[in-house]
Symmetry: D2
Subunit: 350 residues, 4 copies
Amino acid sequence: MPETMLAVVKPEPKAGAEILDVKVPTFGDTDVLVKVKVASICGTDLHIYDWDAWAQRRIHPPLIPGHEFCGTVAAVGREVTTVKEGDFVSAEMHVACGKCYQCRTGEAHICQFVKIIGVDADGAFAEYVRIPESNIWKIDPAIPADYASVLDPLGNAVHTVLAGEIAARSVAVVGCGPIGLFSIAVARAVGATQVFALEVNEHRAKLAKQMKADYVLNPTKDDVKSVVMDATNGVGVDVVLEMSGKTPGIKMGFDILRLGGRVSLLGIPSKPVELNFAEDIIFKGATVQGINGRLMYKTWYQMQALLKSGKLDLSPVITDRMAMKDFSKGMARLKTGEASKILLYPNGVK
Amino acid sequence: MPETMLAVVKPEPKAGAEILDVKVPTFGDTDVLVKVKVASICGTDLHIYDWDAWAQRRIHPPLIPGHEFCGTVAAVGREVTTVKEGDFVSAEMHVACGKCYQCRTGEAHICQFVKIIGVDADGAFAEYVRIPESNIWKIDPAIPADYASVLDPLGNAVHTVLAGEIAARSVAVVGCGPIGLFSIAVARAVGATQVFALEVNEHRAKLAKQMKADYVLNPTKDDVKSVVMDATNGVGVDVVLEMSGKTPGIKMGFDILRLGGRVSLLGIPSKPVELNFAEDIIFKGATVQGINGRLMYKTWYQMQALLKSGKLDLSPVITDRMAMKDFSKGMARLKTGEASKILLYPNGVK
Amino acid sequence: MPETMLAVVKPEPKAGAEILDVKVPTFGDTDVLVKVKVASICGTDLHIYDWDAWAQRRIHPPLIPGHEFCGTVAAVGREVTTVKEGDFVSAEMHVACGKCYQCRTGEAHICQFVKIIGVDADGAFAEYVRIPESNIWKIDPAIPADYASVLDPLGNAVHTVLAGEIAARSVAVVGCGPIGLFSIAVARAVGATQVFALEVNEHRAKLAKQMKADYVLNPTKDDVKSVVMDATNGVGVDVVLEMSGKTPGIKMGFDILRLGGRVSLLGIPSKPVELNFAEDIIFKGATVQGINGRLMYKTWYQMQALLKSGKLDLSPVITDRMAMKDFSKGMARLKTGEASKILLYPNGVK
Amino acid sequence: MPETMLAVVKPEPKAGAEILDVKVPTFGDTDVLVKVKVASICGTDLHIYDWDAWAQRRIHPPLIPGHEFCGTVAAVGREVTTVKEGDFVSAEMHVACGKCYQCRTGEAHICQFVKIIGVDADGAFAEYVRIPESNIWKIDPAIPADYASVLDPLGNAVHTVLAGEIAARSVAVVGCGPIGLFSIAVARAVGATQVFALEVNEHRAKLAKQMKADYVLNPTKDDVKSVVMDATNGVGVDVVLEMSGKTPGIKMGFDILRLGGRVSLLGIPSKPVELNFAEDIIFKGATVQGINGRLMYKTWYQMQALLKSGKLDLSPVITDRMAMKDFSKGMARLKTGEASKILLYPNGVK
């Protein structure tokens, strides 16, 4: 085990990040030290990088960001029993307290006192990362490393899609960032029979087509409601997966929803949303769900089963691969709007 | 059978109503003619009476309003088999089309083409009312007529309370109009272990106490959040039943909701609502439900079982009784904010 | 419209059936007369043909059997509004009373007073069949007629598969008659990630392979439990779909079920079943469901959506096609155990 | 802290038990040592005492039995944070592995590798008992100690009653041992509107009346089916809670169940059960659930909320109180069939 490692570090409370040589993390009796093989950039990492209002409130530098990754177990604490050196793993980076009401009733994904590795503690944009055994996920070797590096956002998609009935349902995915794109694949794999993808960015719209959405619509150009109503015999879609976090997207989602339909909200609006509760929720008899994280660990089992059975082709979503030291290039690339999922390799692109 | 009858009539598209002598309704092969024993005034009737914007769009005079009532079967059409002359009955006044997607999948309460008797067709503020057999509800004789006249709004309450887990749960009822007050009784009867009633009107607050809410709070005076958090070990309430239809009430409901809790929206806001979707729904992992009408007819069975077993004391909600011909006095009384449920008797208060 | 038609008739209470020229059915104001295009033979028809104990109790000759079919509307009653002459249709042959507790609470598929067309009234093994409008299902023209003729048993499969969680689940289909085979296709289409098919008949086992079950096992030859446990990391299957109706199949299903799993029972045992309730249900925390018919009409919408989207390849199940007049040959063929679904064409095989 | 303590011990693999002076348990960093205030005898303890076939397979003497109790925290391990010396506590005695599929998906109550304190490790029939912090339940001081000593079986009842819809439902409790009796109280508290108690033992039947079952029936004397059908308009009961573990009780439960009803099985049959799956489950569209233990820890929160709100009067179930040293007298008393719940006090009856 080396003493030091390469890491992406935000050293101070300001924009940007540096590539530094830092100490390999220590680990306790119930911890696992993982050698990172592939990590993946999330929009959250861009917030941290840009040091926006949210980041200024939440992040306490110095911090190694990064919460999407896979790797191999480099070492385990004395009390660890479920993985051993060399195992191929990823991790749930939401570390739940285990003691609050939510944790004790099967809802650890909304733990009152959650800490997120890569946000509240040093993360995976480094050669090594420390993970508590409780949060380690042993990956089936049939799953490729690139896919294994995006289990966190894929888990968001699986959690959202499977948060209600989906088989034989029509579904609108509003917003085709990486999680929206993953949701298209997941919805198709679990029997959604019509998938409408709504997206204004043409690069993302193109990816939505590659993910095999049945309809890819641009709300600024297409008459979305008319297309949806025609395709659903005037009923509207059964399910809306809101991934945009934008007020117009949310409104559009409710507008095309059928009476009695489900809206699952994952995209996070940066400001309050004004909605016609009477027409859009109450008279409609709609069910609206706030979706946070991934079920611990039901979603992980579901995701692994779907991946292992070959039901998910995620390849179009992975648009860029680069060496981890080129992290800042990744940030720039993300801002162009042309990239979707960017993978980072600590030891260079394989 | 007499040829004419007394009825409350809105003869023209303007405010007010008249007491007129009109023809007793004819009825078809599948209809039931009911002699009204007790009818009850709903807020909707006040909208119609006052001829507000909603009423101007929806109502086509001449109309006999009234959609809450009980009575006895006066006559039945040739094909009617489930009730006979003399039976004690009420009715579901939402007449569903029976042929749309919602009707054919067990969600007739949100039928795309619903017609409401008393809104879209002549209703129960009269000596006789015509009801299709499909919508007749035969009432167990153990249930008193006054209670039987409010099954429509009681059904709203039962539908809302039972729209999710409620046993052994803490519940906030936001807004203590008649349906809110009924909800307190229903929630207690089905095992809610803490009931918080939020109400700004002191008359209604007093009724909420009589309905045995554990806490009756005035959001303009009490520190609601602090009281709720203290009483729930800092967790928040499991369930919010939103009956106010007011933006501050809705916001307050979400604010005191626990992570992973349920908000059931019944109160109808008259304008769009601005809400912090990120904090109040998404990060909270909340479930929000739009509640419309009553399940046809699951809610009716539930309601009847609860009433028959004596688990519901609704008496405090019935604040006024008057002859049906004094309808306009009832309207005036309702506007004082001092009345809750006002019962009308076609043949004078018994 | 002709006055007479060809029909398969059981004229007397004894084994066998005859091909007769009978009167075309009359129809009432709310009925639809359908010209049969394709009908399909069900195991129930064999019971009726063979005049077994069940048939002797239930069937009152003369009777035209047949409850799986599709066709075109030949004529409609005066009050019919949802279909018109020439429409391509099938029908739900369970005619529910519409008035019992189950019918009024969304469970018409288990109506207390159900009558089955083709069992309790003349059915579809004829050139024409009379159907109440309430039970008519208008078929999307994208669906081929052969598939449209098996919507009844396909609906059993869809109802069974979707009676609980199925996405990303491992599933065992016990018994590969037509409904079992359909279930394999449906389970795969809605995201089951491992499908185990258990079947002792080699013809059926071959069809199960063609339906793309991941594992096709013969309980009399293979060590089913060992294979299942190896493939599920020692956990067992999440879901068992019991389609055999045989005691050994039922026992095997429970034996390979994981703790907390679901067993959906569709196959009908002809005698009582002895089961170790303690180990197989209680300690296992299992959920066991009796499945009857198809949801009216949720299952029909689901089925149509799955078929229309092209997610189901049912072709291997349809093993035989013949003229309806050769009905008795179909019965003989069914008894060989070599046929699965046999289609009958009133006007000869197209 | 004393070095030794009084305990009920089964020293050898044979019938009986002894009162011995043994060492107070040691405890680790994550353990809690509890001074027992009240313990309660379960039927399982009788199996162990009598050394029946089950006990011979499962129990490895020497063992201190006892898995129902409450007490005060005497000492805590270094890493314990949720309770402190003096806290009033009970415990979930099923210690789940935390690592199997069930544990990681919210179903720890059916953990594949569960160990039960009082069965697989020394239990609570002693002055002190060692409990892992994860399993400690801090009791609200409003709850009396006698009730706090029976949270384990009360939790079985709460888990069973709340395993499906119960509000406004008719319910049959089959078998009125302590858990059956508790179930009557719980069902009433959460809105069951008709409770039928079935019991052959007259002492238990008397207690069922005291628990306020609406009907207490003796299947060997009363025409149970006729009474139930009359009281439910010929529909049958919505829910059967099977607490007898006897074949006739199970058959009777299914016989009185309505179409589409729920049967929750908690009573453990000692041998296989023969049932008419066709009529009793499949055509009935029944849902059958195996119930094991209590949800960890949702049931505990529910139970505490119900007790704290005063909705449960359990006093009739507690028929006997004695000093723990009189344990063998308790066993004898239990065998008479005249006792229900027997409480043991290490320091004599208060």
